[in-house]
Amino acid sequence: MADSFPWLSLLIFLPLAGAGALSLVEERHARLLALAVTLADFVVALPLWWLFDPSSSRMQFVEHVAWITSPPIHYSLGVDGISLPLVLMTAALMPLCVLVSWESIVTRLRAFMAVLLVMEAAMLGVFVALDFVLFYVFWEAMLIPMYLIIGVWGGPNRLYAAIKFFLYTLAGSVLLLVAILVLYFYGGRTFDVLALSQVTYPAAVQQWLFLAFFAAFAVKVPMFPFHTWLPDAHVEAPTAGSVLLASVLLKMGAYGFVRFSLPMLPDASRAMTPLMAALSIIAIIYGAYMALAQVDLKKLIAYSSVSHMGFVTLGLFVMNQQGIEGAVLQMVNHGITTGALFLCVGIIYERTHSRLIADNVGLAKPMPRYATFLVLFALSSLGLPGTNSFVGEFLVLVGTFLWSKAATALASLGIILAAAYLLYMVQRVVFGVPSARELPHLKDLDLREFGTLVPLVVLVFWIGLFPNPLVSRMHSTVTKTLETMARTKVAPMTHPSAAVVPPVVLSGRGEEGRP
């Protein structure tokens, strides 16, 4: 921690400055500037990988400045083994989002790039915030830019999709604010996430807080049955928006569970495990079945996200080393693979102006390079050994196996179904026989698109073949999270507030609530 350089602030404020600078440049330079800013941000993020000390479970690159004095709210940042991979993934994906919007966004390009950069700042802020209010500020600040991305630059049904996304996520997260305030009074009048994680809360309070957290995070993940905004939002969003939604926004829900629900509310989490696992398995199987039936490529990938995120929540809530590490790894993997698949759909949409599988049949012949990439990413998504998703899903299933064999068997069905819907999609899109009028002169990938996809291929195989550097960075953090959870046995029912207070009206006076 001797290193006092404010890496994380730089990471957050660089895109914001870029968004400001965009208002000064001409429309035609907007793309270049946005690309430069996102690349610069990635360059800032990259050294963290090496500077990060994998043996330490502490927060690193910590910044701690008072922001609001009463109540004490701090501008407090830091990363650990769970947030570091997500920060790097976000920073790595942003240049690709700019690249894929290079030609597909035609109206108000400058505004689009500015909104994209604001999104980047808010997303990175969510992953590095160590103060609960600061976290909430970033969490909510994302809503408006994402609403605009879907609503202004989206597809034909964008208005409906945008407001649905907005209201769903807002309705979920307002209860989070109540929960944060309740935690403040029970946890010794602090919003510090690490300090709040050290407090044992009465069991009844934990139950309610868990439900409030659940409302916010489950909508974002999205867990079955709160997933209905997702297909609409994904389908209508422009490609960059879909990538951000799938790769980063969905991770925030899972990140919320592992950062807040598990360490702060261990008893409630343990009590809820069967329910959470059941919802996860339903999501895995239901999402996969829905994906099988889709005729729209984006919808297919959207439902596959529901299924894949089911693995993540399953891994988190079996609450053992393998499960959580697998889940965090799977968060990164899903970000890479699904992001790549959305990029692929965006690229083909620019050419054929249709996302329907029926309109994009037999691409192997006119676009061999494109077809190669699509097959690669599809194989990665279905968890072929050697690719990244295999490692993550395998770890999750190992973790689940330690918890329940039946659940493992059910969850494995999801992998089989994933193979079914993805290979069926590949069979038609890549190798199908196009109808005669359909075989136009589709241009294969150009250099820009090539450059968009190649980094992701590298990541797919790197994590697939050498997952150890990544996993080793998570290891001590996950161990510590589990230790934090184990520290609390059963919440003492002799606790003054637990015994007296009915669960709804938390008479949350700090003095009583403190253990």
């Binding site: 922001w67 609001i68 004095t69 009463s70 109540p71 505004a111 209010v133 909430y136 500020v137 909510e140 600040a141 809503l143 408006i144 609403y147 605009l148 609503g151 202004v152 964008r158 208005l159 945008a162 407001i163 907005f166 209201l167 807002l170 309705a171 307002v174 209860l175 604010l177 109540v178 305030l181 309740v182 403040y184 009074f185 709804v504 009206v505 938390l506 008479s507 949350g508 006076r509």
Partner: protein, 495 residues
């Protein structure tokens, strides 16, 4: 005689404002039409003087001073509200400059009435006696009745004025009746006398219950809380927009200030009882304000219902103050109301400033549909409106979020987590109608058939008002600490 002189010095800001108002009314007939703007600058000058006077007392000299044998008190609480009211009045006057010109209302007395209303509000926030507060309320209301009807060519404006007057007079009667009952019960109208006589009696005496309810009804009309909100949409829609902004912000702030003082300083012993009453009112207000706003097509009406809903959020703070037991004295609850109304002032004033100068043809474009496609025509105007709508929804990093944060924090502290949850759920509901404006501005193409699309008429005064409002919303959203500390210093203590 010397003591009388001290009294006059204590209320010097009020005297300056009244003198300036009278001067304007005298000068008005003598000023030729093109020079009427000078009267506005005169009133701004008097405001600047008052800001200096009151602001100068804020720091180390923030001592409570009472005058006229405790009829009036100038304490930190009063100074806080006065500064807010000066600011709001100043911005309203600036906003009115281009607005009156656009509407062809060359009325110098307009500025006189604004200042008279302001002096009434200042008396309200400084009143330590029910009758002083009543007099202030009446001075404010009478000026506002006239101002609501200033657009004499518009039937809606006249209707608004008449409706406001009838209902306002009725509510004043109820207020006065409540005061007279309290006088009968306690033998005085000083808030301190009432507090001393009532002690912690509770509602065991039915007369006390009736008196409290009558006071609540009387103030409820001024605050526009459900079920005493009926006049609000019609009056807000009909009145000239600058006046609407003034009513929605300044009159609401002053009424809340007096309301808080009466219930905290005068009826503080009954806090357990009145907070139950206000729980009911705040929930009703939140539900009705937010739900009915959804179906509005006129943006002034929508903002009227939104201002009703915001009064509901502010009431939560008062409920929290009443319910919080112990040594903290409900400080956080009362401070949260003060903060909420301060932040609300900036965003609502800004939104109304845009509506006032939003023109379709020569007329005010006050239908929500008129905002369709604004982002294409005037990106900056649309962005500013977006900021206000986001802040009204209460999404960070805007002042609206900070205001809600403190209110809900006070509620949770007082053990009313469920009320905070209800409030927040309805703020999610409110997102629907605020975001509809954003949706129309950014995501819909304007109809090609419209001969002259609606647009914001720029002017230096408007730019200044909008700059202040946006700066307030953003800066207080990011760095609220100074205002928070100010509010905490000047808060009333609930004994």
């Amino acid at each position: 005689m010397t003591a009388y002189g001290t009294d006059l010095i204590i209320i010097l800001p009020e005297l300056i404002i009244v003198a300036a108002a009278c001067l304007i009314l005298i000068l008005d007939p003598l000023t030729p039409r093109p020079k009427k703007e000078l009267l506005a600058w005169l009133s701004l000058g008097s405001l600047a003087l008052c800001i200096g006077l009151t602001g100068g007392q804020m720091g180390v000299l923030n001592l409570p001073l009472s005058a006229f044998s405790d009829l009036v008190v100038v304490d930190g609480y009063a100074r806080f509200w006065k500064l807010l009211l000066y600011g709001v009045t100043g911005l309203t006057i600036l906003m009115s400059l281009p607005y009156l010109k656009m509407e062809g209302l060359h009325l110098g007395e307009y500025y006189g009435f604004i200042l008279l209303a302001l002096s009434g509000m200042m008396v309200m926030v400084s009143g330590a006696d029910l009758l002083t507060i009543y007099l202030g309320t009446e001075l404010m209301s009478l000026s506002l009745y006239v101002m609501a009807g200033l657009k004499r060519s518009s039937p809606r404006s006249l209707e608004a004025s008449a409706k406001y007057f009838v209902l306002g007079a009725f509510s004043s009667g109820l207020l006065l009746y409540g005061i007279s009952l309290l006088y009968g019960l306690s033998g005085g109208t000083r808030l301190s006398t009432i507090a001393g006589a009532l002690g912690a009696r509770g509602f065991d005496d039915p007369m006390l219950l009736i008196a409290t309810i009558l006071l609540t009804v009387g103030f409820g009309f001024k605050l526009a809380v459900v079920p005493f909100h009926m006049w609000t949409p019609d009056v807000y829609q009909g009145a000239p927009t600058a006046v609407t902004a003034f009513m929605a912000v300044a009159s609401k702030a002053a009424s809340f200030a007096a309301f808080l003082r009466v219930f905290v300083e005068g009826l503080g012993g009954l806090k357990a009882d009145w907070s139950m009453l206000f729980v009911l009112l705040s929930v009703l207000t939140l539900v009705l304000g937010n739900v009915v706003a959804i179906v509005q097509t006129n943006i002034k009406r929508m903002l009227a219902y939104s201002s009703i809903a915001h009064a509901g959020y502010a009431l939560i703070g008062l409920v929290a103050a009443g319910r919080s037991a112990g040594e903290s004295g409900g400080t956080s609850g009362i401070a949260s109301v003060m903060l909420y109304l301060t932040f609300y002032a900036f965003m609502t004033l800004g939104a109304f400033a845009i509506i006032a100068m939003f023109r379709k043809g020569g007329l005010e474009g006050d239908e929500i549909e008129d905002f369709t496609g604004l982002a294409k025509r005037q990106p900056l105007a649309a962005l500013i409106m977006l900021v206000f709508m986001v802040s009204l929804t209460g999404i960070p990093p805007t002042a609206g979020f900070i205001g809600k944060f403190y209110v809900f924090m006070a509620a949770v502290e007082a053990g009313l987590s469920w009320l905070a949850a209800v409030g927040l759920i309805f703020s999610a509901v409110s997102a629907y109608y605020y975001m509809r404006v954003v949706m129309l501005m950014y995501m819909r193409e304007p109809e090609a058939s419209a001969a002259e699309p609606s647009h914001l008429v720029p002017s230096p005064a408007l730019s200044f008002v909008l700059a202040c409002a946006v700066a307030g919303v953003i800066i207080f959203g990011l760095f609220p600490t100074p205002v928070v500390n100010l509010a905490l210093q000047s808060v009333l203590l609930l004994k």
